[in-house]
Symmetry: C2
Subunit: 198 residues, 2 copies
């Protein structure tokens, strides 16, 4: 299901995973079909027999991952309507999902032009995340647990903050100057809680 599987993989999967891996680091144009095949332990010919073209390979890799749905579920089931607790869950879930799909996200950041509708399904689908969080904030305000604010902007701020941190970890490699992700999460959630709680 994700790139971190360790079970026995068939030929198609090996090629897909190798492609995702290499494209994420070197970009679509930066990697050759030979490299991908070699990394998968297969011949270049086999690659073309399976996918027909390099472009198809990218699209197939892209089709195999979707993380919009699991967010929705993990949300609506586990919230306890206590701000700090819920924000912690949301933040941790977000980073877990993003990290699991980090290579595909890296590809879609670099290769936004190579595919039609590519952008819509990755970068911009934090949109859904924001919508869910917006509804949560609105409901919390209705319950009198939050101050009156623009719920959408707050959701946007919170998600963007986590997105920024996620990208930092992705591009800068290790944690920034020595900041651990978990410390960031607890600290930033605490600040938001103080800033939003009534």
């Amino acid at each position: 299901m994700s790139e971190g599987s360790n079970a026995v993989k068939n030929t198609g999967d090996k090629l897909l995973l190798a492609a995702i891996d290499l494209m994420a680091s070197k970009g679509y144009k930066g990697v050759t079909t030979q490299e991908i095949a070699a990394a998968a332990g297969l011949s270049e010919k086999t690659l073309f027999r399976h996918f027909g073209s390099k472009q198809n390979l990218l699209e197939a890799a892209f089709d195999r991952f979707h993380y919009a749905e699991e967010m929705t579920r993990l949300f609506n089931e586990k919230l306890v309507w206590e701000l700090e607790t819920d924000l912690l869950l949301i933040s941790r879930t977000y980073h877990e999902i993003m990290n699991r799909n980090r290579k595909m996200i890296m590809i879609s950041v670099k290769e936004a032009d190579h595919l039609p509708g590519f952008r819509e399904r990755t970068i911009r689908h934090p949109k859904q995340f924001i919508e869910i969080l917006t509804r949560y904030f609105t409901e919390m305000t209705a319950q009198g647990k939050l101050i009156e604010t623009n719920a959408e902007l707050q959701a946007y701020s919170f998600i963007s903050m986590n997105y920024g941190v996620f990208l930092n970890h992705l591009t800068a490699g290790e944690d920034f100057p020595g900041l651990k992700l978990e410390d960031f999460i607890t600290e930033s959630v605490r600040t938001f809680t103080r800033g939003l709680a009534r």
Copy 2:
């Protein structure tokens, strides 16, 4: 100084600006020397006479922009040691600088591997921004205007939030669902102020 100049440009500048423009959208490998020359209204030969190689062109483009210094200045001169006011200034300054250099930033996001030390000078130099903001938070705490927190983590959170928003605007094109940048700034600063002020 920046890509937004409108004065008469000499040959070298025309090529550099065309290169920055095209590489930002299509990537280093995605653009040809012919395209760049054509976009600059010059011949391919002239490109090579000026820069010798495509790689040199990228490096020359890279050398022409630096935004680390101006941050330092704009900071230490204008702060009034009142949290909300200062955070507003910092946030607005940040977006102004990042926006002015957005194309080079886009390149360095996509082409992190093509240059040695490329990453260090762009993506990862928000580091300096964070250090400055950390000192500010520390000093504010010493003045009794802030609650006791991990200043570095707070700075990291604040900058990352603005970085995330900046990248959203960059990749998603227009503002997100209809959220204006200025609205985000005032709202997020207000939340952080409430979350951090004593």
